[in-house]
């Protein structure tokens, strides 16, 4: 008798299972929309693709078969042109931002993986006030339409992440002095 009861209960459970799965799915959905509440002020903006050096992406082309070496060291074989400068180089190195297991994505301090197109989340971890201004469209360059589609720039479009200080530019010619007008 007891066995029959157990069987019936199990049968009901198997019936319930798909419902439970759907529910958790919905749960994750609502979770996502909860997350995108934070992001909601971002995706409507349009960001040009990240300014990779030519032929460098995807990183997994080379890194997929390579052993991850987690020791901090000076790079001597590849990426020798990358120098950390003016960016707390004593406290930081490659794997703080680059994900060791899949080099095609970046890794936040929380362990969350993000694509290179969303690198502003990575920079925003430390530069929170700047990130806030950037989202409002006040830090950094914005183009497009003042009352329509606005094009943002990634942090890395203006700041080389390894040497973030803005590079000096050659100025355009000064105006003609009155004394030089004929």
């Amino acid at each position: 008798m007891r066995i029959v009861l157990i069987l019936i209960v199990m049968f009901f459970f198997t019936l319930l299972q798909p419902i439970v799965v759907v529910a958790t799915h919905e749960g994750s959905h609502s979770n996502k929309s909860g997350e995108s509440k934070v992001e909601r002020d971002l995706p409507k903006y349009f960001v040009p693709p990240p300014p990779f050096s030519e032929g460098i992406f995807p990183c997994s082309d080379c890194h997929a078969d390579m052993e991850v070496n987690p020791t901090r060291r000076k790079l001597e074989m590849f990426h020798t042109n990358i120098e950390l400068k003016n960016h707390a180089e004593d406290q930081r190195w490659c794997l703080d931002c680059h994900n060791p297991d899949n080099r095609d994505v970046l890794r936040l301090a929380s362990g969350k993986l993000i694509s290179f197109e969303e690198s502003y989340y990575l920079c925003g971890q430390c530069h929170g006030t700047i990130f806030r201004d950037w989202k409002a469209g006040v830090h950094g360059k914005r183009t497009g339409e003042w009352n329509g589609k606005k094009v943002y720039r990634l942090c890395v479009h203006c700041h080389n992440p390894h040497q973030p200080r803005f590079k000096p530019l050659v100025p355009k010619p000064p105006p003609v002095k009155p004394i030089d007008i004929r």
Binding site: A136, T143, G144, E145, W146, P168, V170, P171, P174, P175
Partner: protein
């Protein structure tokens, strides 16, 4: 003889007014070249821009487009887009970011058909040494030319029309050729400007510029998309100034101004002061903002700020 004359004047007394009118008409008839082209007369008797109805405006625009296409051999479009209701344009400039590269100056020249020779720049970039007495506009250097900017120990301050809410230039214009539009842009009707330059004397920001000669623009560099009150080609002897790129911004959706679009450091911000979500409102509400020569009560809509 005398009696006869007296009689005549009594009979057909010519008033001073009609006499002068007749003389003026006669002089005009002699002065104006003998041509069948009515456009000279149309231009001469063109009504004030704000008193014209829409059909009169479109007739004027048609005439101007014809004149420009003859003069420059290019199809130049002249718009007369009206102000968008509920919009008051405001501008922000981040002094902590500007590096003085003058990209904005030349983007403005190209967009707004400024004369290359003689040279007219609507934007002037001033440089100041850090620690010196500053915002002394008259003593500031605008001719700096180092190999790279920013120079260490210097900062830069671009100055252009501040689009005052209480514009002194408008007050002094004897022909009402300049006025403030509903969206806050101070504009000039180049067909009504008589070139007296009172407005230039009245402007505390040096934002107005005079066409001392026929504007010289290379044909291939002319911006063919123009606005009647903005960047349409000017004449010799008229005053011109920044109009917040009226030909770009007065649209739904409207583009950012040329200077905002070119700025490599993103120091320039533009938006609707009446929209609480606009960038300019964010600047005013969250940053340390000041306005140039605020004490003159010109009430500019151009806000300088420090974002850091």
């Amino acid at each position: 003889m005398n009696e006869k004359k007296d009689k005549l004047t009594k009979e057909r007394r010519v008033s001073r007014r009609s006499m002068l009118k007749g003389m003026a008409a006669g002089a005009a008839a002699i002065a104006i070249p003998n041509t069948s082209d009515a456009s000279i007369w149309d231009a001469f008797f063109q009504k004030h821009f704000r008193e014209m109805n829409s059909s009169e405006v479109s007739a004027v625009i048609e005439r101007l487009e014809r004149e420009y296409s003859e003069k420059y051999k290019l199809p130049i479009e002249v718009k007369a887009t009206k102000a968008i209701p509920g919009v008051k344009f405001g501008y922000g400039l981040d002094l902590s970011r500007c590096i003085g590269c003058r990209r904005c100056v030349y983007a403005c020249v190209g967009e707004n058909n400024q004369s290359r020779n003689p040279q007219i720049h609507w934007i002037t970039v001033l440089t100041f040494k850090e620690g010196e007495k500053w915002v002394d506009l008259e003593e500031a250097n605008k001719y700096y030319n180092p190999s790279k900017v920013p120079e260490p120990g210097h900062f830069y301050m671009p100055v252009q029309c501040q689009q005052c809410e209480n514009p002194p230039c408008v007050k002094v214009c004897p022909t009402k050729a300049t006025w403030k539009e509903d969206d806050g842009i101070v504009v000039i009707d180049y067909n009504w400007c008589i070139g007296c330059r009172y407005c230039m004397a009245a402007c505390p920001y040096g934002a107005r510029h005079f066409n001392w000669a026929e504007p010289g623009i290379p044909k291939e560099e002319i911006n063919k998309s123009t606005h009647y009150l903005g960047n349409r080609p000017r004449y010799k002897g008229v005053v011109e100034k920044c109009t917040f790129c009226i030909q770009r911004t007065r649209h739904q959706p409207g583009r950012y101004t040329a200077c905002v679009e070119i700025c490599p450091v993103g120091a320039r911000k533009f938006g609707n002061l009446l929209d609480p979500d606009s960038e300019i409102r964010y600047c005013i509400e969250n940053k340390r903002v000041f306005r140039l020569k605020d004490d003159l009560n010109t009430n500019p809509k151009f806000f300088y700020f420090f974002a850091t």
